[in-house]
């Protein structure tokens, strides 16, 4: 059933649809469905496409006009993301800035920081990467050791970050640093600093992932510099700022992810039909389970969105908060099952051959392994659900 997620905004939906049909043409249209927030395939085309979006004023929809945004509400943003995903437009490149750093600056940044950075994000002039994880601080983010020391000229930064998504494309990094040397302070001694990549003290090295693509990097800071005004939310407040940022990392991306997964299931069923494996009763049942999973995801997303947009609700989003919290865990696990199924649908061709469908199956199989790790591992997700939603005691 076609669910109208925000019937009051039919004009806006029409505006999005007609803009996309006019502009998602030529080279852009040929790259439909390309890339993801962690896959830098066809990067240059996607950068050009993002500038096209910028020219159409489609980036930073909810951001204030003074920074180049549209200053519209959540309903419009959700409609836009939904239509965007439905049209299978190329995945955006600067998601780190659009979804994470930008909203963080809007919440915690100084006026100068907002004026300096936000317009350049929306103009696709500066790309951003996230400097959170370290070799010794993954799930335990409060264990970061990269240190920043204030001196007369600002901050001096030393340390190492890793798993920086699209780090080798980044012009700037937002870096969680220890600004109080007392490590026992844990999350109380941290600050979020904005660091320019193009300087002698910063060395960004791409890391090849197991699919031999370079979605992420490691970043080394040796006497790197940031000026005194590059701390976000005040020195020592890094943990609070970062927790807000991570909160933004979930939710908004689930609907586009679901639509992409739905297309993958449809492709798998078509492939199974033409190869004849559809008659294999085990494959058949697993294909239906894949179909069921993406439809359950869709229902959950629609329910969460309906709740977020419900102006009669006492507290928007509260009734579906548990469903929203579990969305990432469900989607990532289901995607891995789909990856495994895709290989079985294509059989040996996906493992030993690989063009077209089999190649896509292999890519899905390999890249989906990352999804239960990045953005908070499944184990961390389960801790969060158990403790915050179910109220089970901490160890």
């Amino acid at each position: 059933m076609d669910i109208d997620i925000a019937p009051d905004h039919a004009d806006f939906r029409e505006e999005v649809r007609s803009w996309l049909s006019e502009h998602l043409v030529g080279d852009f249209a040929e790259h439909r469905g390309i890339g993801s927030p962690t896959d830098d395939a066809a990067w240059d085309v996607r950068v050009a496409w993002e500038r096209e979006l910028s020219a159409g004023n489609w980036l930073g929809l909810t951001w204030p006009r003074e920074y180049g945004g549209r200053d519209v509400g959540l309903a419009e943003e959700i409609i836009f993301e939904y239509e965007y995903a439905r049209a299978a437009a190329p995945a955006r490149v600067n998601t780190q800035a659009l979804e994470l750093l930008g909203p963080t600056l809007l919440a915690f940044g100084t006026d100068e920081q907002k004026q300096r950075f936000l317009p350049k994000i929306l103009a696709v002039e500066e790309m951003w990467g996230q400097g959170f994880s370290e070799p010794g601080a993954g799930s335990d983010l409060a264990a970061v050791r990269t240190k920043a020391v204030a001196d007369d000229d600002g901050w001096q930064i030393d340390g190492q970050k890793v798993w920086t998504t699209f780090g080798h494309h980044a012009d700037w990094l937002y870096v969680l640093c220890r600004t109080d040397p007392d490590v026992s302070l844990r999350h109380r001694g941290l600050s979020l600093l904005l660091v320019e990549v193009d300087q002698p003290g910063v060395d960004v090295r791409p890391i090849e992932n197991l699919a031999r693509s370079t979605e992420f990097s490691e970043c080394f800071f040796n006497d790197a510099r940031a000026s005194a005004d590059m701390v976000v939310g005040g020195a020592g407040n890094g943990w609070r700022v970062v927790m807000t940022t991570l909160g933004m990392e979930r939710g908004s991306a689930l609907m586009p992810m679901q639509l992409a997964m739905q297309r993958e299931v449809t492709d798998m069923i078509d492939a199974a039909k033409s190869s004849g494996v559809l008659d294999d009763p085990l494959i058949r049942q697993r294909l239906v389970d894949a179909y069921i999973g993406v439809n359950v995801m869709r229902s959950s997303n629609l329910r969460v969105v309906a709740d977020l947009l419900d102006d009669t609700a006492a507290e928007r989003g509260k009734a579906t908060a548990a469903a929203a919290t579990g969305g990432k865990l469900f989607a990532s696990l289901h995607h891995q099952l789909m990856g495994e199924l895709a290989l079985d649908v294509y059989g040996a061709e996906a493992v030993y051959g690989a063009d077209g469908g089999p190649a896509a199956a292999r890519k899905l199989f390999l890249l989906s392994r990352a999804e239960t790790i990045y953005g908070g591992t499944s184990e961390i997700q389960r801790n969060i659900i158990a403790e915050r939603v179910l109220g089970l005691p901490r160890a």
Partner: protein, 372 residues
């Protein structure tokens, strides 16, 4: 079309929950498990008088409240939470749906007021060899006998078959599958209660031997009606399962917070916590699947059948997994008769089988989405 409840529906939930807190405690459920009737007739009457539960989805002109499937979904979730043993599924959902969808205004006028005020119990008898409803499986025959019809054959897995006074039967005439009404007890009708594992939900086998029956709706048009009733049946069951799964998860989590081993609550161990998180995700996903399917039924959407089978598969399996984990997490006490975990566990399995297994519904989905 709505995937979230309105304030009015939440008020209905509060009323229903208050009623069940009084009339469907665990002790009440256990009394009915051992009773011959299988449910509390007094509570059934009270539900009709005080909250109009039975009247909810029956049109106002036939003595009902005129609400739709969205409201039924709320009631069913609450009924599922407490394992209420009253015949809600057959008498409040299935039989009224079959009568209304048959388009037979005479039959509606004859039967629905009695169902709406709770004075009559009704059910529907479709399954024969398989729990799944399938037009090709219908072998009970209906033959003309002067101006009347007589039915011959056997129906199995009939919900509340021994309790119902009105039984709607799917039988085959020369024109195909049709729906007939039987006033039980009746000539040639033998009712055999089944030795059910889940004592909170009674089923029976019914054997007809030239049993007099009245045609409901058009001769030969029965399957059109029944296939829509079937979608309502499996979504109603899914709504019950969501309620029951939520209740058993709450029960389990409460226990994990207080049960101490190794000097700490066992709910603080990650071996437990992570499984509880998975259970919560399953519960919320089941809730989404049931909400979407309910909305699709209420809206008469074209994907209602697919959505219904998705809810059937997902909610059945989620409830079963949550109930099975509940026994494990309770340890020895969870394996005792006196603890309620097994009541949910058995209800979960009986629901998984009722109206067709998850595997049968996966195949139904495959056919509906064109996987041929």
């Amino acid at each position: 079309m709505a995937l979230i409840t309105t304030a009015e529906q939440e008020a209905l939930r509060d009323v229903m929950r208050a009623f069940l807190r009084k009339y469907s405690t665990e002790a009440d459920v256990r009394v009915q498990m051992d009773s011959e009737l299988g449910y509390d007739a007094q509570a059934w009457e009270t539900a009709a008088e005080q909250i109009g539960m039975q009247a909810l989805a029956i049109p106002e002109e036939l003595g009902g409240a005129g609400y739709g499937f969205d409201e039924l979904a709320v009631i069913l979730e609450e009924v599922g939470r407490t394992l209420f043993t009253g015949p809600v599924l057959p008498s409040v959902v299935l039989a009224p749906a079959a009568l209304l969808l048959s388009g037979d205004s005479e039959a509606c006028a004859r039967y629905l007021p009695g169902l709406a005020d709770g004075s009559q119990i009704a059910t529907i008898a479709v399954s024969e060899d398989a729990a799944m409803w399938d037009e090709a499986d219908i072998t009970v025959s209906a033959k003309r006998d002067a101006d009347d019809w007589v039915l011959t054959g056997t129906k199995r897995y009939v919900l509340g078959g021994a309790q119902a006074r009105l039984i709607l039967v799917a039988a085959r005439t020369d024109r195909g599958v049709s729906v007939f009404a039987i006033d039980s007890p009746a000539t040639g009708l033998t009712i055999e209660p089944l030795p059910v594992m889940d004592l909170t939900r009674r089923l029976a086998s019914l054997t007809f031997d030239r049993t007099p029956a009245v045609l409901v709706g058009e001769d030969g048009a029965g399957w059109t009606t029944l296939s829509q009733v079937f979608d309502q049946a499996i979504v109603a069951l899914a709504c019950e399962q969501v309620g029951a799964a939520a209740a058993v998860l709450e029960l389990t989590v409460d226990y994990l917070k207080v049960r101490q081993q190794f000097g700490r609550p066992i709910g603080s161990f990650q071996a437990i916590k992570h499984r509880c998180a998975d259970m919560l995700v399953e519960l919320e996903s089941a809730r989404s699947a049931a909400a979407y399917a309910s909305a699709a039924i209420a809206a008469g959407a074209e994907d209602a059948s697919v959505a219904a089978s998705i809810a059937k598969v997902y909610c059945s399996q989620a409830f079963y997994h949550i109930a099975a984990e509940s026994i494990q997490m309770h340890g020895g006490i969870g394996f005792t008769w006196e603890h309620p975990a097994h009541l949910y566990f058995k209800r979960a399995k009986s629901g998984e089988v009722l109206f067709g297994s998850p595997a049968a519904h996966r195949e139904r989905i495959a056919e509906l989405i064109g996987m041929n």
